[in-house]
C-alpha cells in the first residue's frame, strides 16, 4: 500500500472502529438517549434542516474568513511599507486579539442585528490576527541578498513586491489560512449563540433547551465536518501553491 492510501485509510478505519465501539457501549449499558445517544440515533436525525443550518454557518464562516484574510493581508502590506502604521496599529490588533470574541459577540448583535452580519463580524475578528501576524512575518522574511539582487538589477518597488515579497510570504499566509479556517467556524457559532434563528450554533442552543441530545450531537458533528471541509480545501490549495516549502507557525 502506498503512503497516500494509508494516510486516508487509517484515519477512516480508526473512526469507524470508534463509532462501532460507541454504538456497542450505548446498547450494552443501555445509556439513556438524553445523556449519550448512539451513533445510529444521531444518524436518524440528520435531515435537510440540519444541512440548511450547516449551510448558514458555513456561509457566515466563509464570508468572515475571506473578508478577514483580505483585510489582514492588506493591513500587513501597509505595515511593512509604513513603520508608523505598524507601530500605531499593531498594539491595537494585539488588544483585539486578547479580547475574547465571546465577550464581544453580544455587542456585535446590538450593532449589526441578529442576521448574518454579526456572525460574519465575529468570524472576521477571530480570523484577523493569524493572517496579520503571519503576513507581516512572511513579507519581511525576504533574504537580504535576494533584495540586493533585485536592487542590483534596478527592480522597481512593484517588481520587488510581486516577484519577491509576495511569493516569499505565501507559505506564511497559507499556514495562517489553515489555522483560521477552523477558527472561522468558531466565530460564526459564537455569534449564533448570542442571537440568531438559524445556523449550527442556534441548533445546538435550541436542542439543549429541549434536551434533544441527538439533534445536538448532529449539530456538533456538522460543525466538525464544516471545519474539516474548510481545512481540507485550504490544505489542498497549500499543497498546490506552496510546493517549495512549508512553515507551521503562529
Amino acid at each position: 500500500m502506498t503512503t497516500k492510501i494509508k494516510d486516508v485509510l487509517y484515519p477512516i478505519a480508526f473512526a469507524v472502529g470508534l463509532i462501532l465501539i460507541w454504538e456497542a457501549v450505548v446498547r450494552i449499558f443501555d445509556i439513556p438517549l438524553y445523556l449519550l445517544p448512539a451513533p445510529s440515533d444521531i444518524a436518524r436525525v440528520v435531515d435537510g434542516e440540519l444541512l440548511r443550518n450547516m449551510g448558514a454557518t458555513l456561509y457566515e464562516a466563509v464570508l468572515g474568513f475571506l473578508l478577514a484574510n483580505v483585510l489582514g493581508f492588506l493591513t500587513a502590506i501597509l505595515f511593512v511599507h509604513s513603520r508608523p502604521a505598524e507601530k500605531g496599529i499593531f498594539p491595537l490588533a494585539i488588544a483585539l486579539k486578547t479580547t475574547p470574541v465571546v465577550a464581544l459577540a453580544p455587542l456585535l448583535v446590538i450593532w449589526l442585528g441578529t442576521g448574518y452580519w454579526s456572525k460574519v463580524a465575529a468570524s472576521m475578528i477571530i480570523c484577523f490576527f493569524p493572517i496579520l501576524v503571519n503576513s507581516v512575518k512572511g513579507l519581511k522574511a525576504v533574504e537580504h541578498e535576494a533584495w540586493e539582487l533585485f536592487s542590483a538589477y534596478k527592480g522597481t518597488k512593484a517588481e520587488i513586491f510581486w516577484k519577491l515579497r509576495l511569493p516569499t510570504s505565501l507559505p506564511y499566509v497559507l499556514s495562517a489560512l489553515k489555522i483560521s479556517s477552523s477558527l472561522a467556524i468558531v466565530g460564526a457559532i459564537v455569534g449564533e449563540f448570542v442571537g440568531s434563528n438559524k445556523g449550527l450554533g442556534y441548533l445546538v442552543l435550541l436542542s439543549s433547551y429541549h434536551l434533544d441530545t441527538p439533534v445536538m450531537f448532529s449539530a456538533i458533528a456538522a460543525a466538525a465536518v464544516a471545519g474539516l471541509i474548510l481545512f481540507g480545501i485550504i490544505a489542498s490549495v497549500e499543497k498546490r501553491v506552496i510546493f517549495w516549502q512549508k512553515v507551521d507557525e503562529v
Binding site: A146, A152, Y153, T156, E159
Partner: protein, 285 residues
C-alpha cells in the same frame, strides 16, 4: 584543448578592443598590456556605526583582467563589492568610477540566492525581467537568452528543475548563468565556490575561466572574492591582498602563469612559488 587556446587568444584581442572603445588612456591600445581600467575605486572608506570596515581603499580593476581579492574573514571584501554595485555608499571623500555602464556589471553572491518557486530557466531569466532590462528585449528574446546561458553552464537537462532539486554546485552554476544572462562585461563574484567540495570547485573554476574566455559572451573582466589561495592563483591575473579590518589593499600580486589555465598547472613551479609567496604574506598580516 586547442579550441580553448584559440578562444583565449581572441579574449586578449577583445580586451584590447574594449580598451580602445572606452577611449582609454594613451598606450592602452598596445594590446599586450591591459591597462585601461574598468572600475576605479578611489580612497574609499566605510564605517558601520562605530566600526570602520574599509580604510581608504584605492584599487583599479583593469578591463579584461581576472582579479581575485583575498583577505581575512570580516575585513570587508563583500562590503567592497557592495560599494561597486552601488548598494552601499562610501564615506565622504571616497569615490567609485565605473568605466562601463552600470547595467554591464553582473553579480554572483556567496549563496546562490535562487527563488525556490521558480525553475532553473525562470531563475536565470529573472534579471532580464526586472528593471530597465525588461523593456530592452521581447519576451521571446529574453527566454532565448536565458536558454543560451543555461546551456553555457551545462545544465540544459535541468531546465525545468526547481532549485531544491539541484545540488549545491548546480545551484551555483544557475546563479552564474543568471548573472551572465544580463550580458555583463564585468562580473563580480563573492566567494562563488566557497560552499563547494574540492572536486566540484576545481571543475567550476575551469568552467568559469572558459566562460570568461568565451568570445560569445560580452564578459571580459572578473572580480572574484575568495578564501582560497590556490583558487586565486589558478584563476587570476592579479591577486589583491587585503589587510584585516579596517581594511586596506596591502599588496597586489601578479600571477606568472599563461592562459588558458588548466587544473594541472597547479603542479608548475611558478604556481607553487606564487602560492608560497602569498602564504608568507598572509602570515605576516
Amino acid at each position: 584543448m586547442a579550441a580553448i587556446s584559440s578562444l583565449a587568444g581572441s579574449v586578449r584581442e577583445r580586451a584590447a578592443g574594449a580598451a580602445f572603445d572606452a577611449g582609454g588612456s594613451a598606450g592602452a591600445s598596445s594590446g599586450a598590456h591591459l591597462q585601461t581600467s574598468a572600475i576605479s575605486i578611489q580612497n574609499c572608506s566605510l564605517t558601520f556605526g562605530s566600526v570602520r570596515v574599509l580604510n581608504g581603499v584605492s584599487l583599479d580593476v583593469r578591463s579584461g583582467e581576472f582579479m581575485s581579492i583575498l583577505g581575512p574573514s570580516g575585513c570587508g571584501k563583500s562590503t567592497l563589492l557592495r560599494l561597486i554595485l552601488g548598494l552601499l555608499r562610501p564615506d565622504q571623500g571616497g569615490g567609485i568610477t565605473l568605466h562601463v555602464p552600470r547595467e554591464e556589471i553582473g553579480i554572483v553572491f556567496q549563496k546562490p540566492v535562487l527563488m525556490p518557486w521558480q525553475t532553473a530557466i525562470q531563475n536565470i531569466e529573472l534579471p532580464l525581467n526586472i528593471g530597465p532590462q525588461r523593456a530592452k528585449q521581447s519576451k521571446a528574446e529574453r527566454r532565448e537568452r536565458a536558454e543560451w546561458t543555461l546551456e553555457l553552464v551545462g545544465l540544459a537537462d535541468f531546465r525545468n528543475h526547481y532549485p531544491q532539486q539541484l545540488s549545491g554546485g548546480m545551484q551555483q552554476r544557475i546563479a552564474i548563468a543568471r548573472a551572465l544572462a544580463a550580458n555583463p562585461s564585468i562580473l563580480l563574484m563573492d566567494e562563488p565556490f566557497g560552499a563547494l567540495d574540492e572536486f566540484t570547485r576545481e571543475k567550476l573554476n575551469i568552467e568559469l575561466l572558459r566562460l570568461w574566455a568565451n568570445p560569445d559572451t560580452k564578459l571580459n573582466t572578473v572580480v572574484m572574492v575568495t578564501h582560497s589561495i590556490q583558487e586565486s592563483v589558478l584563476m587570476s591575473d592579479r591577486i589583491v591582498m587585503m589587510s584585516p579590518r579596517p581594511a586596506n589593499v596591502s599588496d597586489i600580486v601578479q600571477v606568472p602563469l599563461a592562459h588558458p589555465r588548466e587544473a594541472e598547472m597547479q603542479e608548475l613551479p611558478a604556481f607553487l612559488s606564487t602560492v608560497r609567496e602569498i602564504r608568507k604574506q598572509v602570515k605576516a598580516l
